[in-house]
Amino acid sequence: MEKRSIKRFAAVCLAGVVIFSLAACGKKENSGANLITSEKEKKEVVRLFGPMEKSDPDAANVARTATDMTVIMAEEKLGIQVEYKTYTAENYQEKTYDDVTLERARNQMDDLYLLNPDTIQILGEEGKLLDLSELESAKNLREVVKIANTVDGKLVAIPQEVVAHGLFVNKEMFDQYGLKLPETPEDFLECCRVFQENGIETPVGANRWWLENFVFAQAYADLYNGKNTAAEIEALNTGKSKYSDYMRPGFEFLQELIDKGYIDAKAAYTSEAIDGEGPDFLAQKTPIVMAYWGAANTKTAYGDPDFEMQVIGFPSKRGQMPVVSMTGYGISKEAEHLEDAKSLLNEMLSDEALLVYTKTNRVISPSKNVEVDCIPALKPLNDKIKENVYVLGSNAGMKVEQWGNTCLIVRDLLNGATVDECMEKFDRLQEESLKE
């Protein structure tokens, strides 16, 4: 019986193999004469201009991962293709990225641009950028984002992340000397004094990039947290108020820090960000440094300290003050693919896309609807931002570009210039802006 079953099974298998073999020999005739079976689907293209970042060997470019993820989401949703155009200067003699951006935007070379604060301001003033306030995603933006990217009443750029700078402090050292975390410049000076008296000669670790945050915190604490922000900016833009008047307290404060040895000006002038002051801070030799939000999340920066670290705002008369700056995406007003570019940007800035971006890079989202838990160390800074207490390090609405210019002038101070000389530079810049 069993043998018979095996024989039957073998016969069925054999028949199956024969049928399969015969079927495999068959060939389907082409129904038509055209041998091209399908053509590539032509997609609408949106050209995106951004800086080219050097890729690591044997690795995909990680720096743009989060942005790429949102681009891919938008591409899939809209059925369009984003074509990257990039530029990065090889050396100081070549045109800067901002220069090229301006030229390309002015010649309508691309549809979408990733713009630095100064180019946002310039192109916004030139009317080259589209008003993005009509975008659906723009409705979800935080107020700070809108303020920072509004030129002549038009929202000309929108960022994918809000970059907040703050003071990174060693809480344990503050506790050790019975010090409260500083709220005002006076508090800060007192803390530095106590630290210095206790053998910490240079309580503040600094580099040549981020000391300007002390200046912004003191200069614009009232401007951005008062009720007359627009009027005050307007007064500055029209020359009724002077930038130097705003900036002076901050510069004098920095000068005092330098004079009392709380900051090593020479070391700061030659130090790159984190590389210079970071090791001493992590070794608990320096209780105070300054850095951007992401440094607290990054292991190669301050992501893994051996002590209790807290990130707080810079001292101002209004208390701790985070300094916020941002880059943003703008659309050429005369873009070849204007509608597609608008749709693309709308999707890239949707809450869904920003959630992906924010989770990937663990930053503050420009959308008020997107909240990602931050690490405990960032909580003081995050709380302030949530309370809308901050100053902007860059503001497209101001005719004098803030972030870059202030940075350069602080370097002058570090290099030995007086506060008055620095203020003169601001006055000159304001005068030039008024001429335009």
């Binding site: 970042e53 470019n61 984003v82 045109k95 951006t101 030229e103 010649n107």
Partner: protein
């Protein structure tokens, strides 16, 4: 030999296996080589294709450059003839490729451009010396539009004199539309590099990774980990010399073919890489298909091998089974042949024996018949000769009976005739036959019955007789003179209440048998032969018949024997116990309700009590005369006296007779005293002379006791009523005998005449019927009927007679007298309506007995 064959088979298998492995190795090597070759060819072809693609792109770019140069020359010619060349330039509208047009008049350092800016030659670098269609072409630079551009310088000549230089700026982005939208299925990477600055100036869409870019050649090396100095030097040399180069190098962990393809004499380079897997995709596909085909073929081959293997295994199995079967058949055939040879030998021997055995008595018959004829006058000799003739004839008859029995058993025609019988009858008849035989040889014959619960049993008494007599007669035959023979009937534990389980043992201390002979003792036509037994006569069929009958009865027979020590035959049988007994009132009628057993062997006494337990008679035992007398005294005083006394005659005790006398004296004369003994015990004759004393043959059976009681009573009665000697004769009786054989008829007539009877002979059954029909009522006292007769046989004749409408037709005794001597013949005779069956030759004593019984 077999081992050698096996080794040979194993070696063959190994050779075959090695051959297959070798073939597969060769096939594998061939496939590998072929796949390598295909890969190489495909790779070479792919490189060729890549080269062609790059050449095509190169040609396209160069064509664009040439067209641009040609167009620029035409433009210069037109400007040369224009009255206001500056206005022409200023009013020139930029296009997708020409984005800036500038003119510097001869002898000036600055000129004008169509975008309204002042133009200086210093802005451009023509130091590389590269040209397009003879016109100098500048290094790449980022133009006012923020994109990579180049300018071509063209002299504006009028009347053979250069009046100005025309600079036209072109953007590299314009190449993009002329280049393919990705190749090698989008896996290839392509950049356009300016040779002089080694800057990447174009990354056509679809031909570069979206998430990575290369700033310059150095960055290309760094990002792709190209760090080999010799390679970098070689590449640099090629770039410098405007030569093409292709080289393999891993890109992101994958082997890739890197290329640097010079365009426009090396002013530009197409740079990029294609992963090898993309290049060899077709080759890989071919190889995969080839491997698939090979795999399928191998699978098919292995499948075939598997099927072949299973088929072979199956065939081997079948072959092996057949061989085994054949071996069994051969063995069986050999055994059968051996058996046949043995049988043949046995039969030959049997015939020889039979020839001898038949001739011997026949010789005696004939010899003594001759002597009888010569000495007819001498009555003493006549008696002696006739006695010997009789003995020889009887021996001859037994021989014939045995042969017929075997023949009957072998042909399966034996039918058992189940009837009620008593062990007493069985033992008595056996004893009556064997004891005289044993006495002749001065052998002691011991009979013992123990443990029997039921004496009346259902079975074929005749066959039982046959079994026991066969065994006992053999024991007598094969035991030397003065030896001992034991005959035991032992009651075994009943397996069922309806069956009596008995064992019959026949033991002797005679010659014994060899183990070899024991193996064939139950085979037909064998007979123990040695110097001692050669003189013993027999057919050699007895044991075969015995065994067959035992098995037919559902029993078993075993034999144990040792040479010179004796033999023991053990037969075990089960007999059904009859449900009802007709003579249950015998004891009541006989007036016996209490008896005394005097036996020094108490075991024997208990056995008697056991056998009598169902009879209702109270049995008391006494081991000695004294004890017996005491008990009798006590009884005398009591209300109930003994109505019967049994006295166990001890052959060893010399005071038996005295004891008997004392018993007789003490017991009242009307109470019978029975001596439990053998008939040939010493002194017993004197004992039975005493009044109302008789012998009850050992062993004790209730039926024997009943019979003896009846006999005693009948004797007492007859003594009073009849004259002695008359009952032995058939005086005055008249028979009708149907016998077709004249001699037999004559013998019968003579015998009956000697007994004072007469008979009328008829030749067949038909005549017998007719004769009886004609006869007067009471004319014939009985009919003696042969069975095998012409016209009408005995059975049919009997039926016809019984069917006659005569009053005496149903009553008249019809006695079968036939040579058909088997039990089934007897059964048939009785069924036909005959009263009795007598086998020929008719024994006169038996005839007399049965006639007296029925007539």
């Amino acid at each position: 030999m077999k081992k050698q064959q096996k080794n040979g088979g194993q070696n063959k298998g190994k050779v075959l296996l090695c051959s297959i492995i070798t073939v597969f190795c060769l096939l594998g090597a061939f496939v590998f080589v072929m796949s390598q070759k295909i890969s190489e060819e495909m790779s070479s072809s792919a490189i060729q294709n890549l080269s062609e693609s790059l050449d095509l792109m190169k040609g396209t770019i160069e064509a664009i450059l040439r067209k641009e140069a040609e167009f620029q020359k035409l433009m210069a010619q037109e400007i040369a003839v224009l009255p206001d060349p500056v206005e022409f330039v200023r009013s020139y509208q930029k296009s997708q490729s020409i984005v800036k047009v500038s003119l510097i008049m001869e002898g000036e350092t600055e000129g004008i451009s169509n975008i309204g800016e002042l133009f200086s030659k210093e802005e451009l670098d023509f130091s590389s010396g590269k040209t397009v269609d003879g016109l100098p072409v500048s290094e790449a630079y980022v133009n006012y539009m923020g994109t990579w551009a180049y300018s071509i310088q063209c002299p504006v000549t009028k009347d053979g004199r250069q009046i100005a230089s025309l600079y036209v700026e072109y953007i590299y982005d314009s190449f993009e539309k002329s280049l393919p939208d990705g190749f090698y299925n989008g896996q290839a990477r392509l950049y356009v590099m300016d040779a002089n600055s080694e800057r990447m100036i174009l990354k056509p869409k679809g031909m570069g990774e979206r998430d990575a870019g290369h700033l310059n050649l150095k960055d290309f090396y760094r990002a792709n980990k190209i760090s080999e100095e010799t390679l970098i030097e070689e590449v640099s040399a090629c770039v410098k010399n405007g030569e093409n180069i292709l080289f393999y190098h891993n890109i992101r962990g994958k082997r890739a073919l890197n290329y640097m393809w010079a365009v426009n004499d090396g002013s530009l380079f197409l740079i990029g890489y294609v992963p090898v897997e993309a290049i060899q995709q077709e080759g890989k596909s071919v190889n995969q298909n080839m491997f698939t085909v090979v795999f399928v073929m191998l699978a098919a081959f292995f499948l075939c091998c598997l099927l072949y293997y299973f088929s072979q295994r199956q065939q081997n199995k079948v072959r092996k089974e057949r061989e085994e079967e054949r071996e069994i058949y051969n063995k069986q055939l050999a055994q059968a042949l051996q058996a046949a040879q043995i049988a043949s030998k046995s039969k030959t021997m049997f015939l020889s024996n039979m020839s001898h055995d038949i001739r011997t008595p026949m010789n005696a018959v004939l010899g003594f018949t001759s002597l009888l004829a010569l000495n007819a006058e001498n009555s003493a000799k006549v008696k002696e000769y006739t006695k010997k003739i009789m003995a020889s004839g009887q021996h001859l008859l037994s021989l014939i009976n045995d042969v017929l029995d075997v023949s009957k058993i072998e042909s399966g025609k034996v039918v058992l005739n189940f009837e009620e019988f008593t062990l007493n009858d069985l033992v008595s008849s056996v004893d009556a036959i064997i004891r005289p035989m044993a006495s002749v040889k001065h052998q002691n014959f011991h009979v013992r019955v123990t443990g029997i619960h039921h004496e009346y049993l259902m079975g074929d008494e005749t066959r039982m007789n046959q079994i026991i007599i066969n065994l006992l007669s053999n024991a007598v035959k094969y035991t030397q003179e003065g030896g001992n023979i034991w005959f035991r009937i032992i009651g075994l534990k009943q397996r069922s209440s309806q069956y009596e389980h008995i064992r019959i043992e026949v033991e002797d201390d005679g010659y014994g048998m060899t183990p070899e002979y024991l193996e064939t003792i139950f085979d037909a036509f064998t007979r123990a032969e040695n110097s001692t037994t050669n003189k013993v006569q027999g057919t050699g069929l007895g044991m075969a018949i015995t065994k067959s009958i035992v098995e037919l009865m559902g029993g078993t027979i075993q034999v144990f024997s040792e040479v010179e020590k004796g033999s023991l035959f053990r037969v075990e049988l089960e007999f059904r116990i009859p449900e009802e007994r007709m003579d249950e009132t015998f004891w009541e009628n006989s007036g016996i309700s209490k008896m005394l057993v005097l036996d020094s062997d108490l075991e024997s006494g208990r056995s008697i009590r056991n056998l009598m337990k169902d009879s209702g008679i109270f049995v008391e035992l006494a081991a000695s005369l004294k004890e017996a007398l005491e008990q009798m005294k006590m009884n005398e005083e009591g209300q109930e006296k003994y109505q019967l006394v049994l006295f166990g005659w001890d052959p060893e005790d010399e005071k038996n007779l005295q004891t008997a006398k004392k018993l007789r004296e003490f017991v009242s004369p009307e109470v019978p005293i029975l001596l439990l003994a053998s008939y040939d015990e010493k002194g017993i004759e004197a004992a039975i002379e005493m009044e109302n004393m008789g012998i009850l043959a050992k062993p004790f059976f209730e039926s024997a006791l009943k019979e003896k009681i009846s006999e005693l009573k009948a004797w007492q009665k007859a003594e009073k009523q009849q004259e002695p000697g008359k009952e032995d004769r058939l005086e005055g009786l008249h028979f009708l005998a149907a016998e077709d054989n004249e001699i037999n008829a004559e013998i019968l007539e003579e015998i009956l005449k000697l007994e004072g009877a007469s008979c009328e002979i008829v030749e067949n059954g038909q005549l017998a019927v007719e004769r009886f029909a004609r006869a007067n009522e009471g004319e014939f006292d009985a009919i003696l009927m042969d069975v095998q007769m012409p016209v009408l046989n005995g059975y049919d004749a009997t039926r016809a007679i019984r069917a006659l409408e005569r009053e005496d037709a149903k009553k008249i005794p019809i006695i079968a007298m036939t040579a058909n001597a088997f039990a089934e013949d007897e059964k048939e005779a009785l069924e036909a309506g005959m009263n009795l069956h007598l086998a020929k030759p008719v024994d006169i004593a038996t005839l007399k007995k049965v006639i007296q019984e029925f007539v």
